[in-house]
Symmetry: C2
Subunit: 157 residues, 2 copies
């Protein structure tokens, strides 16, 4: 698993969560979830690439991942992003040797947007309960309901 900087993850999550407080164990769950999610997105892109018998990842394949997983607003994401070298390493680890520059940027934005959305949806769960603090359970529920086979995801974290 390739590590991603916690400070960046936290800032992106907070972009989504707004002015909500975040419990420490909830943050830890987000930190643990992100590399697994980023790897899963990279593997999904690789699966699509293989199904077309291609070797170079282009933006349409990453867009297809976003569309199948129903992640919206990737194109419009304009917050903080991860380092391009780190993103490239995650894709490489998934077996993607060649990546077009715009596809790398799109993948980066996709990972960021999923984190931002996790913040938004976790904040919404806390608000449903009239809380001002995002708890572990909020993040857990959002992961289960947003990812395919979400319960398996939790077990892999």
């Amino acid at each position: 698993m390739i590590r991603l900087p916690k400070a960046t993850i936290e800032r992106i999550f907070r972009q989504g969560a707004g002015d909500m407080r975040v419990a420490q164990d909830a943050k830890d769950l987000v930190f643990d979830f992100v590399p697994v999610m980023a790897e899963y997105l990279a593997e999904s892109a690789k699966t699509i690439l293989d199904s077309a018998n291609r070797k170079t990842l282009n933006t349409p394949q990453v867009e297809a991942v976003a569309e199948i997983l129903r992640v919206e607003g990737v194109e419009d994401y304009d917050g903080e992003e991860f380092g391009r070298m780190t993103m490239r390493r995650i894709l490489k680890r998934a077996g993607i040797e060649r990546v077009a520059s715009d596809a790398l940027d799109y993948y980066n934005k996709l990972v960021c947007r999923v984190i931002q959305e996790l913040g938004e949806l976790s904040a919404a769960k806390a608000k449903e309960d009239d809380r001002k603090t995002i708890q572990y359970e909020d993040v857990e529920k959002v992961i289960v309901s947003t990812m395919p086979k979400g319960e398996e995801f939790l077990e892999e974290i």
Copy 2:
């Protein structure tokens, strides 16, 4: 939405659920879920096809859908299947004009396997609660946790 025969859906679901009883409202939820799920799988296949700039659906693209959604055991599915004409109509409605014969069969098995697995996982939820009857909530929880953006799925049903 293209209708699928309820009797077939129920038999496939029961293949997964084993000897558990199924409450009527739980069955109704399964009946409502299946056409939405089949349409979503067809649209996902279309997305992958578009990302490769291709027109004819072949098995690898449908396999890619199964892999991204983490549906296992599609190849080995050997229970009842839906009519090929109905499956073709669902794919056509998703914008897929040409379908290879083996891709159509694989798509058919994929839809069936998702229903069978829904039966398995719903039965497991009921057993966790020491019940012999699958309730609405069991099916609901499994849909939320298996499909991407599972809560949106429920709203579309």
